[in-house]
Symmetry: C2
Subunit: 363 residues, 2 copies
Amino acid sequence: MLEHTYAVIMAGGGGTRLWPVSRRQRPKHMLPLIEERTLFQATVQRLEGLFPPERIFVVTVARQAEELRRQSPRIPAENFLLEPEPRGTASVVGLAAVALRSRDPQAVMTVLPSDHYIRNQDLFHLLVRIAVDVAHKGYLVTLGITPTYPSTGYGYIQRGEPLTEEGLYPVYRVVKFKEKPDEAQAREMLRRGDHSWNSGMFIWRVEDILEEIGHHMPGLKSVLDEIAAAWNTPSRESVLQALWPTLETETIDYGVMERAKNVAVLPASGLGWSDVGSWDSLFDVLLADENGNIVFSGQHMSLETHNSLVYGNNGERLVVTIGVEDLIVVDSGDVLLICRRDRAQRVRQVVEELKRAGKTRYL
Amino acid sequence: MLEHTYAVIMAGGGGTRLWPVSRRQRPKHMLPLIEERTLFQATVQRLEGLFPPERIFVVTVARQAEELRRQSPRIPAENFLLEPEPRGTASVVGLAAVALRSRDPQAVMTVLPSDHYIRNQDLFHLLVRIAVDVAHKGYLVTLGITPTYPSTGYGYIQRGEPLTEEGLYPVYRVVKFKEKPDEAQAREMLRRGDHSWNSGMFIWRVEDILEEIGHHMPGLKSVLDEIAAAWNTPSRESVLQALWPTLETETIDYGVMERAKNVAVLPASGLGWSDVGSWDSLFDVLLADENGNIVFSGQHMSLETHNSLVYGNNGERLVVTIGVEDLIVVDSGDVLLICRRDRAQRVRQVVEELKRAGKTRYL
């Protein structure tokens, strides 16, 4: 096990792009979307052999905490940090850094989304170990994913010079973080070969990230300082409740990483990674059958069906597809979604329209 | 009302091409597929003003009789003729002819399927009146439907010389009945312009059809003679039960019409007719919205959806379609069917496979 290293799982989100399976009351990371275990459980279990349970922290919101504890009984209850309300990943990272520093001033933290999928656990462990080494030298390290196609759904990280010549594994200085590109930009980045997808997985020393927050997000830093001062006192909770709502919502990427110096990237290929950010993304991580289909459905019959996803979570229901190509079918409770594969991003728009129309029962 | 004329509605079938809405226990004609009333109810109501209820007969099987009586309370119970088991339309016609002749030796019968759709009731009435006139002259008359596209799903009737020069409406001698053609043949028939679709609606004198059955189906005729002899005796039912299973299954088209002389056809256009023989056929009879879609569903949201049918019979369920074209979606109870429009005929194959696999719960 790594000394002084901790995992921080960010598990408070409520993504809508996997609607209608993910809902307000059942966000994506709490669902057994790809396997029998939930994405959160898979994230926890992926850490076995790397971090003991007492060094795994979970940042979430109160209404999700009970279910997440149930899903990860080996993680101590006090390792669940509750945000009074969601304020973006910068605040999550700051809160976790305060908690870790109070336990271990030399702490290195590995920040992990709870709702991503990684097939290759061994490579993941190796990358975290390397990243921890690099973080010990004072870098903010990010795991980059080597692009396999010109995705317009991910942010990108441009790498510069190699950080060390002699390492086991190449690590690079980051030149620039880039927001989700259009297709032409994505193709160009793929052609250049010096960009990685931003995986949202970060490794750094607690003291380094708090210092960078101080430089780039002084408002957050002063709140964190007050929370830190109250951390081991009876007023921790009341200070947190009082100050948290004053924070602006911001991501750690935009708030810190895009501006910080000493940022490094480990480009990873073969990790079998996906952010599971849309129904279409399941094709990136799951093996399709000989017709290119991915079927999660109790009963399914198909004729002339190709490159399609059939997802049904009612085991008794028979789903029949005839002459279907490049289609996503999600049959879930009171909603049936039928969507062309290359339109999977528009699911978000449907969710927005349902909100506007007040049809909350479907959200 | 027409003198000595009777309607005979054939209502014993159990078609599978509108599966999964039509099932073994709920065959197509018993369902409110297109309107709030069932296809059978629409067939009965279409006769209003043409035949009084006491001159409408229904031929069905015992297990459907109760429900059909409930759906048509004005038709006298004794007008329901029960086949001991289905033996094809030739036997249905023969049984009805025996029953009608015993009531009225001069009877003219109008044979009507119970599961077709006709939008233009006035034209239908006019055509039946003309057909009855022609039948009184000794012809076996069939209503032909003027083709609107090269269908490979219907049988065709080739017409020859006009029967009379002076009629209100053109009636022709039939040259030939043709089985369902391939697409090239269908195009050629459409090009020639002398073919009609076989609607399965027939008008003839009872004495004429029984005579033709005698010529072309002597086995059926001898059984019908025995049944006729017992008709007004206490042994009617026992004779029927004993002899019916010995009959070969045959259609009236193949058994008689294709071989008979004196066959006439009334070509009808503008009837708004469909045999509702496949999900795709609903596009022939129903008006689509501005995107070409036909939606029967309690809750539906669509983005970029065109020329598609969404049929859901669960009013609480939300069906969302995104980027969908030329697709049929049928969401019905324990089955979800998703089928490309031009593959709608293959539904029958799915039903066959379910039978073979013993998955009777879905049939």
